[in-house]
Symmetry: C2
Subunit: 277 residues, 2 copies
Amino acid sequence: MRTVFDEPDEKVRLGSISCEPPKGITKEKARTRLEELGQELFALQDEMWGSKVNAVMVVLQGRDTAGKDGAIKNVAGCLNPRGVNVVSFGVPTLEERQHDFLWRVHRHAPRLGEFAIFNRSHYEDVLVARVHRLVPKKLWRERYGHIADFEELLAEHGTIVLKYFLHISRKEQKKRLLERERSPETAWKLNAGDWEERDYWDEYTEAYEDAISKTAAPHAPWIVVPANAKWYRDLVVAESIVEQLRERRKGWEKTLKDMARERRAALAAWRAERGKR
Amino acid sequence: MRTVFDEPDEKVRLGSISCEPPKGITKEKARTRLEELGQELFALQDEMWGSKVNAVMVVLQGRDTAGKDGAIKNVAGCLNPRGVNVVSFGVPTLEERQHDFLWRVHRHAPRLGEFAIFNRSHYEDVLVARVHRLVPKKLWRERYGHIADFEELLAEHGTIVLKYFLHISRKEQKKRLLERERSPETAWKLNAGDWEERDYWDEYTEAYEDAISKTAAPHAPWIVVPANAKWYRDLVVAESIVEQLRERRKGWEKTLKDMARERRAALAAWRAERGKR
């Protein structure tokens, strides 16, 4: 179960989308399925890497504790690390603030053949920047258009842009924040700021709904992932990436075959030339 | 079995180091051991990532088909992708050639907490550059000192620098090149240049021996890895990384504990303050 938004200006109501896994799927089944998907993803990546026709940009967004790190570990963990770049976008540095808001993201756009996985992204500039009024309304409103144009540019270059909202409930977040606090292993991740952000729950909801609605496009869909159960969240993310790549596979395989033919011919020519010497 | 060079100017004789796994270890045992090491490495990485005291720079060098990509897949594949950056250094681009030879490498040096894994590296500038006389002798000879200084700088910053020479035999390379040629899955990787490089086998041996000897240091050791058997190669690389990290673990755990204490105190203070409001 996942909700895909791929048309601009469709109405998004997060409140009406469940954060829970659907009935009928068990954790065990999901784990098995994830393992299979992981292997398929690895194979797909290899062909994409070789053929250099497409790239993938995965954007992970969600509230604190929604599981962005976990999804990266479990989904990106299936990939060959050679072709993956995981980038975390935090509070902008001084240098980053001296540029437009897309600059720091653009430089990490994936090369053809590669995956870029973003832990937060340019969307923070229409989320936290909006909720905390870091910039005037006029400015953040203009950003939706810039984001849409930017993602269109990437898509035209061959980049498959996939944007995930990891959807957790308010109750689940509280549970996770308290768990983090109690466990000695995770206490160093504590941050009073995470509790403070909870006060802006509804403002974030609204900001997410607008961001999703205004930047959804066929070439850059938003996928709302029920994320209260970690095992289901990972499955949905992996499944939707694999589905997007699977349809390109034939094209990559054709390119690889053409490359092999050319390489063989070049090697034969080199051998003949060498034989003459 | 691995040969570690960690003193400058020790004599290196690659011809006297075996490319084969030692007797007594089986592929099955090695795979089991690699799995255990992978889990330990993952846990170590997590603490290094949190504590931000150290970083790791793994340099993988070796002749064509020596298995650099394979080692990355199987060893870096154990890590959390969030904290790993795999960088392949190919023929320098125009921009890279307009800088000194360390520039392109330095910008990919790992941040504290992170792994950088280099598929080829600054060592190419004393290997291919020397063998093919791309620069005058005077110039490449000066580079050993620059490399040693650079790696010392990184080490002083907290970076654990580990340099691997994946050691395959001439016969094994021939076998692998022919395999690549025959298999339809890998034919697109064919390159007449790989065969041409084989003509310079001895020149490369000499260049590697000098590079290892002149840049070995306690804080930046070279590890010669018997690489004729892929399963043994991966085991040796994983084992030596884990050993280097294991000795730092206590320090990281102490840092994390201190951080947790501070975070808890900050959260308590924030709660008290909030209660007053």
